[in-house]
Amino acid sequence: MNPDDLKYHKEHTWVRIAGKKGTIGITDYAQEALGDIVYIDLPEVDTAVEADSEISEIESTKATSAVITPLAGVIVKVNDDLAESPEVINEDPYGKGWIAVIELENPAEAEDLMDSSEYEKYIEEEAK
C-alpha cells in the first residue's frame, strides 16, 4: 500500500526523487490519523528549507499537524489545487495530494530515509 518507489521520513512524509527534484507529500498513515483535512497552509515557492524542518501545516477536523520535509533544498513548486480542495490529500496522498516539489541540495541523502517495508515496520511499532 505504501508505494515502493518512494522514500519515507519518520514524521510520516514521503519523497519521490526524480533527478535533482523531490516531490513531497504526507503518507496514507498520516492522512488516516489526521482525519478529514480542511486546510493546508502551503509553503511559498523559492523558500529554502532544511531537512527535518516544518514546511507547511495541515488542519484536519481533529488536529493540526506540521508537514516535515525529509530533505533539504529550495521549494520550486507547490500544489496550488490543495488550497481549494485540501481533501484531495485524504483521497490520494501519494498522487494528486502531493504538497511541494523541492530542488534538492543533495539527492543522495535520500539513502538515509526509510524504504516502504522499513516504514511499514516503523508504523507498526508506533501503533503499539
Binding site: Y39, D41, E57, K62, A63, T64, S65, E126
Partner: protein, 464 residues
Amino acid sequence: MDLAILGAGPGGYVAAIKAAQLGARVTLIEDQEVGGTCLNWGCIPTKTLLASTDLLAKAREMESFGLELQGSVTPDMTRIMERKNKVVSTQVKGIRSLLKAGGVILKDGRGVLTSPRDISVAGKDGSSYTVTADKVIIATGSRPAQIAAFPFDNRNIISSTGALELSAIPKSLLIVGAGAIGCEFACIYRELGSEVTLVEMAGRAVATEDQEISALLARELKKKKIRLLTDVRVEKVDVREDGVHAFLSDGQELAAEKVLVSIGRAFNSEDIGAEALGLARGGRGEIIVNERLETNVPGVYAVGDVTGGLLLAHVASRQGLVAAQNCMGAAIAMDYRVVPAAIFTHPEIASVGLRQHQAEERGLKTRIGRFQFRGLGKAHAMGEIAGFLKIIAEEQTDEILGAHIMGPHASDLIHEMAVAMQHGLTARDIAATIHVHPALAEGLLEAAEDVHGEAVHVLPASDR
C-alpha cells in the same frame, strides 16, 4: 462637592454617574455625543457591522448546515449602516437617560480649562459660560492618528470613523496598520466583498498579542484571502482618478479604491487649556497621571485614552470609577494586573495577563497548556473549529499568569481566566472545576489540564 467632567466617553460618563451616586453635584461637558468614541465611532458600531458580516458568513455556509436557500444573500450597505446607526442611537439615548436619572447635569458643548477649577464652555446652542467646580476630571479621549505624508481626505484616505460611514463597498481596500482596528475592518470589508490588503510595519499583525495568536491570525487572514504584508511601511500615497496608489518601503506599488489608515490614536490634550494649567504631558501628548489618576495639578484628574495607557473602553470606565471615588475622598490606586482585552476579528481573539514572550523576558519559569477548538464537540456542532486556547501558569505555584484565546466567543471565554487571575487561582483549580458539556469553555478545562500534560481529549504528542 462640585465635580466637572470634560468628555462623556466611557471614561467620563461612568465617572459622572459614579460621582453623582456618591453625592457629588456633577456637570458633564460633551462636545459631540455621549458615549464618546466607543459608542459613536468605535467599539459598538464596529461590532454592529461585524454582526451583519458574521451573519453573512454563516449564510454562505447554510448548505453545510443542511439549509437550502432559495435565492441569494447579498449585503446592502445602506441598510447595514442604518442598522448600525439605530443601534448607536438607541445606546446614546440609554446613556442620556442614565445620566438624567443619576442627576448628572449634561452640557452639550466644548470645554476649555481656564484654571484648575474653571471650565469655559462654548455651548452647541451658541451660548458661552463658565462651569466652576471643586474638582475636575479630564476624559477627552483620543482620535485617529494620521500620517503626515498622506493625511485623511475623508474620501480616498479614510480613518476608522470614515470606514464606519461608507455608503458603498469599496472594490479594494488598503489598510495601513494591522493592529486591532485594522484587522477588524479587514475582516468586515473582506466579508462584504472588498479585496483587502493589510500593510504592517512591525513583523506581525496584532504585534502586542502573544506570538502564537499573531501566527494563527496570519493563517486565518490567508484563508479569507486577505493579504498581509509585514515589515513594510507605506511611504507615499497618490490619489488618482482610478483610486489611490500606495508606495511601499520595499519598492512595491499597490493600487486600491481606498486607503484606511489605522496606525494608532492621537490624544485629545491640545485644545483643553493644558498649557495654561501647566498640566504635565508625555511625549505623545498623553496626560500624565499617578496611580490614583490625579495629574500634577492637584484636584485635576484624568482618565481614559487621553492618559495614553491601555486604549480600551473598559479600562477607561474602570479609571472613571476610580477617579470618581478619589475625587470624593478615597485613595484608590488603579490596578492593571488583570485587564482582559479582545480583538473582534473572525475568529475572535482575547487575552489576559502575560504573553509567553513577556513571561520569558521576565525570567519566569512557566508551564503552558494548549487546546484546539477542533477538539471540542461543541465547536464542531457550531461549525467553528478554527482556533486554540492557551494557558500560561507559573511552574512552581501553578498560578495562572496569562491566557490567550483565538476562536469562537473568545471575548466571553476570557473572563473565566480573568476571574481566576484576579483571585490567584491555579491551572489545577480550573481543571478541578466541572465545566458544562458541550460548551466552548471546556476548552479552558482541557488547556488547564494540559498545563500538567493531563488533558483527556488530546492526541499523543507526535500527532499534535
